[in-house]
């Protein structure tokens, strides 16, 4: 069975820290940052290596700040 | 002037002119005394004649906003109504002016306030020449005084509306709307195609193509400095209109001692008053503003320098008289005579008023 590996790029300055994406991630691979962006929001980030590129976080993100990549391994 | 001669009501002549001007859409709501406009359009099936859309809306509020939607696509759209309906439209008219959208609005004035009466009136002068809705804006207001003018000013109004991207009002009343006269009908003008609209009116929202940015039609700008710039742009446009688009008619003003300033129905009646007065030896002339906005300020000023008195005749408590007083020489009396409630002044009344005010007084 082909495995997939995913990753995301977050437009940190546009993230408003709403956290709606956090629950949407089936592999618990994203978290909120300790740091804040230029607007003072904690932003979401990819912290674990378990991303499958399922796109859930990006699909539910109200601000459309997430780009998702995926490759077959 | 067209070649074909017909006997028509003012409202019908207006409606026929609309079709022949190549209008794209009429959106209206029935109200006396102008319901013949939509009735005529529905009966004429302009959809078959030219492809023009005619829709009876659920209210005047909806009608005027349908104009907004159509005008924003660069379409030639219009509505017609009467005073209470025009009051309901004021919000939409303000938005149209703010968004710089061209359209034609016909108001067959009736007496007010409130439901008032269905008989003719001229008490919407303030409402339409001073804005009416909220914010700083002006409407081009044209007052025909014959059935022929009801026909002729349709095309002129559309041209002005698109030239300045501003709503234009044809301000009339039930008397002219219902009156039958002979009218010369012009040729059918073609409606513009979508390609022609895209070419002529690049601001129109017809769908964003790759060669341009998206078009946005809005009256909103939350940046106060940008909104002020927009206001200044509008004011500049209004000044340009004031300088270039004044229209009026003078009758026997050359030798006149007394001038009647009147428009629309009042101007027609005043003509008879002028004749009666002249027979009595009173040198009466008539100054008829055709554009109520822009108002013929300079012409009123010039005329007032050489006459003994001015009387405005209006079917109102005296609205246009304020503009006449503002621009006339302070050396002569400027008086008002008006009837209200749907009463039309008689020529003899007017002559009597002139005698009492300017001769005996």
């Amino acid at each position: 069975m082909a495995k997939v590996k995913g990753d995301i790029i977050v437009d940190i300055e546009k993230c408003k820290g709403c956290e709606v994406c956090i629950d949407a991630c089936p592999t618990h691979t994203i978290e909120m940052s300790e740091k804040v962006n230029g607007k003072g929001y904690h932003f979401m980030q990819n912290v674990h290596d378990a991303c499958t590129g399922c796109t859930n976080c990006a699909i539910v993100c109200p601000d459309g700040v997430i780009t998702v990549y995926r490759i077959k391994v | 002037m067209g070649k074909e001669l017909r006997l028509m009501k003012g409202n019908e002549a207006f409606a026929e002119a609309v079709i022949r001007a190549g209008a794209d859409g009429y959106f209206g709501y029935p109200i006396t005394p102008q319901s013949e406009v939509m009735e005529y359009l529905m009966a004429e099936k302009p959809h078959e004649r030219t492809g023009m859309v005619v829709l009876q809306a659920e209210s005047e509020v909806a009608s005027i906003n349908m104009l907004y939607g159509g005008a924003a696509c660069g379409k030639k759209v219009l509505t017609s109504s009467s005073s209470p309906g025009i009051s309901l439209m004021q919000e939409g008219i303000s938005y149209l002016a703010g968004s710089e959208l061209p359209c034609l609005i016909m108001d067959a004035m009736r007496g007010g306030p409130g439901l008032g009466t269905i008989q003719p009136g001229q008490a919407d002068y303030f409402q339409l020449t001073k804005g009416g809705g909220h914010g700083d804006y002006n409407l081009i207001v044209i007052a025909p005084s014959s059935v022929q003018e009801m026909y002729d000013y349709v095309e002129i109004s559309f041209d002005l509306a698109f030239k300045y991207r501003n709503p234009v009002v044809v301000l009339t009343d039930g008397a002219i709307g219902q009156m039958m006269e002979k009218v010369y009908i012009g040729d059918q003008k073609p409606r513009l195609t979508e390609e022609e609209i895209r070419e002529k009116y690049p601001w129109a929202t017809l769908g964003k193509t790759p060669d341009r940015e998206r078009n946005i039609i809005t009256s909103l700008d939350l940046d106060p400095y940008r909104q002020e710039r927009h206001n200044l742009h509008l004011q500049k446009k209004f000044k340009e209109i004031e300088e270039n688009e004044v229209r009026y008619e003078e009758l026997n003003c050359e030798d006149a001692d007394f001038i009647i300033v009147a428009y629309g129905t009042s101007a027609r009646i005043s003509q008879k008053a002028m004749d009666i007065g002249r027979e009595k030896g009173l040198k009466i002339g008539i100054f008829r503003p055709i554009t109520l906005w822009p108002f013929p300020k300079k012409e009123i000023r010039a005329l007032s320098e050489k006459v003994k008195g001015i009387l405005t005749v209006e079917m109102s408590a005296g609205q246009m008289v304020e503009d006449v007083r503002l621009h006339a020489s302070e050396k002569i009396p400027v008086e008002h005579y008006g009837r209200m409630g749907g009463v039309i002044p008689t020529p003899n009344e007017i002559v009597e008023v002139i005698e009492n005010l300017f001769v005996k007084g």
Partner: protein
């Protein structure tokens, strides 16, 4: 295996599986964190993009939080007076029957001040798509009671909760328009989870496709949150929405192919 993959290998254009559509502009959305407006804007624009309709689409922005929708949607747009979007859309669609036209309206706009325009456009069977965002509150003006505010729900003008004797009942506009013969497809969706977003997008796609067949009004309600107005975190607002809004405004199709599929 997977640890041998480097970021350089993954972050290549050909590996992109999801990115914001170009039909959303790069402007930062003016909405509060977690607001469903952004998601709804995006899926609507994704549908227009995927159907290749950008050059044929005209949208109407309302008055309310989404008044600036035209800053974010990269299509030709008009901004309507409060509640009047259906009148604008009616005229556009009548004058340009082959364009794709949508009105995007909130619950104050569509269900209060614009009730007449909404009902009559639906009843005439106008061939445009209405996107109706229902968050049970007036967000833009500061969280006042809307026609859709639930019974007992607190807002800045019902600070002790909506009490129907004094303030009237919440209005189910979508069920109401579903009963009108001019509506063809009426559905209620949400955008709080990935699954809900996918379903909502399918519903919008269906509505736009049906619009092209000129079958009548296509009407998509999106039950949404207003975390600022509801005074909750975005995550809690979504939870509250599921527990309180959904029982009164149940998700799912109400009218399909011109026939009611639910009792209304």
């Amino acid at each position: 295996m997977s640890d041998t993959i480097t970021k350089e290998q993954i972050f290549k254009p050909e590996n992109i599986v999801y990115k914001k559509t170009d039909l959303m502009t790069d402007n930062v959305l003016s909405y509060c964190p977690g607001c469903g407006h952004g998601t709804t804007h995006r899926i609507l624009m994704e549908v227009i993009d995927e159907m290749g309709l950008q050059s044929e689409t005209i949208g109407i922005a309302p008055v309310g939080c989404s008044v600036l929708a035209y800053d974010f949607m990269n299509v030709d747009m008009q901004q309507a007076a409060h509640g009047r979007a259906p009148a604008l859309a009616t005229a556009i669609k009548r004058l340009l029957p082959n364009k794709t036209v949508f009105s995007y309206q909130g619950d104050g706009d569509l269900a209060a001040i614009g009730t007449a325009e909404t009902i009559h456009a639906c009843n005439r069977g106008e061939n445009f798509t209405t996107i109706f965002i229902n968050n049970g509150i007036y967000g833009m003006t500061g969280g006042q009671m809307a026609p859709t505010t639930l019974e007992g729900m607190k807002s800045s003008t019902s600070p002790y909760g909506r009490e129907w004797h004094a303030m009237g009942h919440p209005l189910k506009m979508t069920e109401l328009v579903a009963r009108l013969p001019g509506t063809y497809y009426v559905t209620r969706q949400a955008v709080h989870t990935p699954a809900a977003v996918r379903k909502a997008k399918k519903a919008i796609r269906k509505a736009i496709e049906l619009q092209q067949q000129k079958v009548g009004m296509t009407f998509v309600e999106v039950v949404s949150n207003c975390n600022s107005g509801w005074k909750m975190t975005p995550v809690n607002a979504n939870k509250w929405m599921v527990e309180n809004m959904f029982p009164f405004y149940p998700l799912g199709d109400i009218k399909v192919d011109g026939k009611l599929v639910k009792e209304v």
